[in-house]
Each structure stands twice: as C-alpha cells, then as structure tokens.
C-alpha cells in the first residue's frame, strides 16, 4: 500500500493555513459560526411559531363542563311519542348555538338500554349520525328522518335505513325541583351502550370505537 491516496494527516490541522487554527480542532470557526446562526434562527422562529400554533389548536384541549337545562315538567312528556324541545349547546352565538332534542318518558316495553338515574326520560339528539344534518321525528311513521341523504331511525333512535353508522346520540336527563333537565350529550352503539360523545360518521360497533378515539375533554358522566 505504498500509493495510498488517502491523506495521512487530518484536515483539521494548522496546514490549512488559517490563522489561529490548531491541531486537533474538529469544528472550524466558520462551521461553528454557521451553526450558531442557524440555531439562533431556529430558536427565534420556534419562539413565535410554536405559541401561535398552540393558540390555534388550543380549543381542541379545552375542558367542557356539563350543563343542565330545564325543559319543563316531567308530566309534559308521554311514553308513546316525542315532544320537541330547543336547548342551547353553545352560549352566546344566537341561533347557531341552539339545537332541538326530542324528549319522551322511558317506556319499559320498548326501551332496551340499561335503566339508571339518567334515562328515566329519553332525550334524543337531532344530529344525524351520517353527517350531522338535523333529523325530524315523523310521528305517523314513528321514525326519525334526515332530509340530507335519507337516513332513517326507528322509535328508539336505532338505524332503520340509509347511510347512518350508529344510532342517534342522546342527552342525559334528570329531574330536579320538579323540572326535567337535559344534560350533556353521549353517543351510543347499536346495543345502546353509552360512549363519550363522538362526531357523526364515526361508527362505535366493533373496531369503530378504537378507530375513532374519544375526546379527553368530553367524557361520560361518572358511573354511567
């Protein structure tokens, strides 16, 4: 190996003829300066970009506290049909923050979900589980019907036809001071098992509940 083309000496030596360079120097001053400037620029960019991004995605992590709204005397609601009630789900934005819920008394001959203190009255959300259009209850057919893409739900809110992927959402209900109160929303799967509220178009049967994770900020009520 007499003609080894590889240099025998390090390039980081005084042979570079740079004043002040010394033997064993692994980072030249030029490289050090370049690196410092780039790091400083990166830090400065991150200093405004990260807070701005956090500001934009902040609402995703905002905790929501359950609210209860009185909608009338419990005697008002029969077992065999629904009474529509308008509740406010977002404060301060006028009509856009309101939604209709269909309310009736729980009917043990019809309802198959596990009874507890929160479903002595059934409050069905009008948010269609296909893509979120407002469904209406047609009492002659005892069906909920969606005007957008033809979703149909039966008396219990279970899917009877069309594209929806799960039964209509419900609201917790309770009786306080002689008034029926509508609480936070929860979602159900086809067995009417309760889940924390999900967006429409997110199935909750089988693998669905894992493909569409729940929000850490909106849970079911404790013990349900």
């Amino acid at each position: 190996m007499a003609d080894d083309p590889r240099p025998t000496e390090s390039k980081y030596t005084s042979e570079r003829l740079i004043p002040g360079a010394f033997e064993g120097e692994t980072v030249t001053r030029r490289r050090f300066m370049t690196g410092t400037v780039q790091v400083a620029g990166g830090v400065a960019t991150a200093a405004f970009l990260l807070p701005a991004l956090g500001f934009a995605i902040g609402p995703v992590f905002e905790k929501h506290h359950p609210t209860w709204q009185a909608v009338g005397s419990p005697r008002e609601f029969p077992e065999d049909t629904y009474i529509p009630k308008v509740i406010t789900i977002v404060q301060g934005i006028g009509q856009a923050g309101k939604t209709t819920t269909y309310v009736r008394k729980r009917n043990p001959r019809v309802d198959t979900d596990t009874p507890d203190q929160y479903n002595r009255y059934i409050a069905i959300s009008t948010r269609c589980m296909h893509l979120g259009c407002p469904v209406r209850y047609v009492s002659a057919a005892q069906r909920f019907i969606c005007p957008c893409h033809g979703g149909v739900y039966d008396f219990e809110g279970l899917v009877a036809g069309g594209p929806p992927v799960r039964p209509l959402d419900r609201f917790y209900t309770r009786i306080r001071n002689g008034q029926l109160e509508i609480g936070p929303r929860y979602s159900v799967n086809s067995q009417l098992r309760r889940f924390s509220p999900r967006d429409p178009a997110q199935p909750l049967d089988g693998i669905g509940q894992y493909l569409y994770p729940s929000r850490p900020t909106a849970r079911k009520l404790p013990g349900t």
């Binding site: 995703v60 006028g94 493909l211 929000r215």
Partner: protein, 266 residues
C-alpha cells in the same frame, strides 16, 4: 450567458432619430414628460435590473402551434386576482361573528353601493375559478405538458387545486345562512370521519367539539389570510417554472427533422 432578445417593437412605435436641424432648441412639455418617465424607470432599473427579469419573463420563445388553450392558466390567474380584489373590499363590510355575519352579508347585498355587484363577482368568480383551474389542468394533461422536466410544476398545480378547494369550502360558510351552515357541518363531519386522526382534525377545524363562537372567525381567517397567502406564493413558483422551462408544443405538432439527418438515413 446568451444575450436576451430586445423586445420586438413594431416599426411604427420605434422612434426615428431626429434629422439634423429639425426642431433645434425647442423642447416641448411632452418631451419633458417622456424624458422624466424614462429617467424614473432608468433610476429604478439601474438599481434593481428588473427590466432584464421582465424581458426574461415576458419575451420568451414559444413553440409553433401555441393556441387559445394556452391562455387557460392566465385566465385562472385573473380569476384569482378578481377574487383577491373583491374579497379585500368585501372584508371592509363583512363581520365574521355568528350573530352579525348574516346581517352584514345582507347589508352588502341590499344596501352597500355596488355591494350586490361586488359580492356577485366574488360568488360567481369562485365557481369560474374552479372551472378554469380544471380546464387548465385538463389542457396540461391532454397536451402531455406535465412530463419531464415539468413534473414539479404539475405538483405545484395540484397543490394550487387543493388550496382552491379549501377556499371554496371555507368561503361557503361565510354568508352564514342555513345552507352554508349545514354544508359546513357536513364538510366538518366528513373531515372527522377519517380514522384515528379524523376526530382531532374535525375539532381543530371547528375549534372544539361543537360548532362554536370562534368557528366562523376561524374559517374566515383561513379563507382570507392563510390560504390566499399560500396560493399567491405558489402561483409565483408556478409562473417562475413556466418562464424557466418554457411551454410545450401541442401533441399534434411534429418536430421538424434536420435534412442532414434525413440524408444520412438514406
């Protein structure tokens, strides 16, 4: 570095030098004005060399067979400019708050001077822009103009197409009537129906689990600040590549063969 060609001015516009003894000593106000304009442009050009850039971008050689289909890109550009200008002026009257948006949009249509016209330009111009961008894309595809070395420009064009859709989607909410409200609910739920990250994307777009107080202003900011900026920047890149790479001949044009090569084959 090849010399850039001088702008091909027609003969009639080329000023002929004055003959000796003609108009001696008489300098009219028009001469002064022309001289001042030329001086101002020279002053800027001497410091920026922009005239070279302008000549490089504008006086390009184009292939034989270039036809009206090649104007679709410019047409899309002008649709975007029209949207930008009308949008800026609509923003002077529009109020992106959930309780005021519908009323302010109605004020523009019914009371503001020329409001109906400007809002109509913006509304119909949006449709025109989507149609034009598709026609431009079809021209590029069927003429094979996306091939080497113009693939990157195709990619930029696809990004512009997607951003144009984002504009159309976010702008649809702003009139804040029943149709735009429910259409946005549906679009948002389609976004949220993607597995695993869909729910988070939906919440990000809506600023929370429900259509809330800041959803409208969020869509407004995306519609009038974020996406137009991105579109303008990408149009700059798109046009730079068009000027740098040149345009393609239509596929029915055959390359003229060098006669010398023909002889060699025989």
């Amino acid at each position: 570095m090849p010399k850039l060609p001088a702008p091909p001015l027609p003969k009639a516009l080329t000023p002929s030098p004055k003959r000796p003894g003609e108009g001696n000593g008489k300098v009219s106000a028009k001469d002064h004005a022309v001289e001042a304009g030329a001086t101002a442009i020279d002053w800027i050009d001497e410091r920026t060399s922009l005239s070279g850039v302008g000549r490089w971008a504008m006086f390009r050689k184009i292939p034989k067979g270039t036809n009206w289909f090649y104007t679709l890109g410019s047409a899309t550009l002008f649709a975007f400019l029209s949207q930008a200008v009308t949008g800026v002026f609509l923003a002077m009257y529009y109020d992106p708050s959930p309780t005021r948006a519908y009323e302010s949009a109605r004020f523009i249509t019914e009371q503001a001077f020329l409001g109906e016209f400007v809002r109509g330009m913006h509304k119909w111009g949006a449709t025109v822009m989507v149609v034009l961008i598709f026609l431009h894309m079809a021209r590029t595809f069927f003429f094979g103009a996306y091939k080497y070395p113009r693939e990157l420009n195709w990619v930029i064009g696809v990004a512009l197409l997607v951003l144009t859709f984002v504009m159309a989607l976010t702008g649809y909410l702003l009139p804040f009537d029943q149709r735009s409200f429910w259409a946005t609910i549906v679009a948002n739920n389609i976004t949220a129906s993607g597995p695993l990250i869909g729910p988070y994307l939906g919440d990000f777009l809506r600023a929370g689990p429900e259509f809330g107080a800041t959803t409208l202003s969020r869509f407004y900011a995306i519609h009038m600040l974020i996406v137009p900026g991105a579109i303008a920047a990408l149009i700059g890149a798109h046009l730079y590549l068009v000027a740098k790479l040149g345009t393609t001949a239509p596929p029915w044009m055959k390359a003229e063969q060098d006669p010398k090569l023909l002889e060699e084959r025989a």
